[in-house]
């Protein structure tokens, strides 16, 4: 090989060195990406390893009355439900009236009130309240007044059921 070839070789070598410098820069980018990915993978693995049981969100929605139904229809259904339970519990309702549904704007929840007057034994009242608790919906009892009237007790109370407002987006 003559010197001319050697010179060409040296030039080629110089170009190679420059090329390798370029590759090295590219390589350092890859190494940084690999470091970042390794951290992310470790994070994901940790998340995968410590999974906790997720609540069934749909079942939590069942605690409220049907979002799609009108408030008056729901009050009717609520009244029907209460009457049925009262009948089964031998809890004698003398009067039921509907309150005005009110909207809690912060939580987008409608509050559906029923005003109930009744005459009954404490035992029937206990059965009634126990059944109300078990209907599978959130019902709040408030403004309860119990008075003794001869052998029976008279009851006045409000029962509140709840409905989520449909999010129309």
């Amino acid at each position: 090989m003559d010197s001319k070839n050697i010179l060409i070789l040296l030039v080629a070598f110089t170009l190679l060195v420059n090329f390798i410098n370029y590759v090295d820069r590219d390589e350092s980018k890859y190494i940084k990406k690999i470091e970042l990915l390794t951290k992310r993978v470790a994070k994901e693995k940790a998340l995968l390893g410590k999974r906790v049981k997720i609540l069934d969100i749909n079942s939590s929605n069942n605690l409220f009355f049907d979002t799609k139904k009108d408030n008056n229809i729901l009050l009717g259904e609520f009244q029907k439900m209460v009457k049925k339970i009262a009948k089964k519990s031998d809890f004698k309702i003398t009067n039921i009236s509907w309150g005005t549904p009110t909207l809690n704007e912060k939580l987008n929840i409608f509050i559906l009130p029923l005003k109930i007057d009744a005459m009954s034994t404490p035992h029937s009242f206990a059965k009634f309240t126990k059944s109300i608790i078990n209907i599978g919906k959130i019902v709040k009892l408030d403004m309860l007044t119990i008075r003794k009237s001869r052998k029976l007790l008279s009851y006045r109370m409000y029962l509140f059921a709840y409905k989520k407002v449909l999010n129309e987006k």
Partner: protein, 334 residues
């Protein structure tokens, strides 16, 4: 320099075994071996010979010698010239010995070196005339020992006497030629290593990326569920805190009635629950157990006896209790 090294690499060309010739050349001219032979071979008195050149400014000093032994060959005449020019740089020097060694220095430049077997006054005068010099010195040979003169000559000048059949350029090219294969191998290894390394890094990146995407996909639904669960939790917390507000009234009523019913002589006369406020009127022989157990139930911030009066006809007390329900609290774990 150690003596053994000198013996190994340095040889002295004796005056009697060489032919000296000097000429003037342009300062910029440096002959390679071929051009040196081309220009001066005809001067050589030998049939087979080597030329040892030395550039002293524009003066080119040439020694023709039939044999060169080592890689550094220094002419004896030059060593004598270095010694003698210190004494007089315009003179003829005759070193007496078995033979006469003649060194001619003119204007500080070595002009001639040769031997003579006969050096009478006539020969001396003839030399002075020939070289147009005025001084001639006869010196004893013992004062000019070769080894001593070599010791006085700094080794850093030895390279000037380096002998090679090839020019420096040829030698450089030869070494370059020799280095082509190793360099090529190194370059090939280097490139291969770089390519392999690059591929390895790229493969690792791609594998990691796939692993990340796969595991992320597995987690995405869980992550969404977690987000929704958090929202639901926040919603319920707000719901309990803003709407239900107080402890579950069904449980509270059940608990109070249970407490009252612990004593079969107790009779509830009146009960009112409104918001956080509870009013209870009970006919009882002992008011304290109801008070204590209600406080222990954990439902109340406050529970107290408001009034108590004795019903003489029934021989029992009518006790009125008043309580404040606790508010529901938001959990702190988020």
């Amino acid at each position: 320099m150690q003596k053994s090294l000198k013996e190994k690499y340095i040889s002295i060309i004796p005056i009697e075994n060489s032919f000296f010739y000097s000429t003037v050349v342009d300062d910029s001219i440096k002959f390679n071996r071929e051009t040196l032979y081309l220009n001066f071979a005809h001067i050589s008195p030998y049939l087979y010979f080597e030329i040892v050149p030395f550039y002293d400014g524009s003066n080119l000093l040439l020694w023709f010698t039939p044999k060169i032994d080592k890689i550094v060959n220094i002419p004896e005449a030059y060593l004598l010239f270095l010694e003698l020019s210190q004494k007089d740089d315009n003179a003829i020097f005759i070193i007496d010995g078995d033979i006469f060694r003649v060194i001619v220095i003119k204007d500080g430049v070595l002009k001639a070196s040769f031997i003579s077997y006969n050096m009478g006054e006539l020969e001396k005068q003839s030399l002075l005339d020939e070289y147009q010099l005025e001084n001639i010195y006869s010196l004893p040979s013992y004062r000019y020992n070769i080894d001593d003169m070599l010791d006085n000559y700094s080794p850093i000048h030895y390279y000037k006497w380096y002998f090679s059949n090839q020019s420096l350029k040829d030698k450089a090219l030869k070494y370059l030629d020799l280095s082509v294969v190793p360099i090529s191998i190194i370059i090939a290894i280097f490139i291969s290593f770089e390519v392999l390394k690059d591929n390895y890094i790229e493969d690792k990146y791609n594998l990691l990326k796939q692993e990340y995407l796969s595991i992320k996909k597995q987690n995405d639904k869980y992550r969404d569920d977690l987000k929704n669960q958090k929202k639901t939790k926040e919603f319920f917390e707000e719901f309990y805190y803003d709407i239900l507000i107080y402890q579950n009234s069904f449980e509270v009523i059940s608990q109070i009635f249970h407490i009252v019913a612990n004593d079969e002589n107790n009779t509830i006369k009146y009960f009112k629950l409104s918001g956080d406020s509870i009013n209870l009127s009970v006919e009882t022989h002992n008011a304290i157990p109801i008070l204590n157990q209600s406080l222990k139930s954990g439902y109340f911030d406050e529970f107290k006896i408001k009034s108590s009066r004795e019903l003489r006809r029934k021989k029992i007390n009518e006790v009125r209790y008043e309580g404040k329900l606790k508010r529901l609290k938001k959990s702190s774990d988020g």
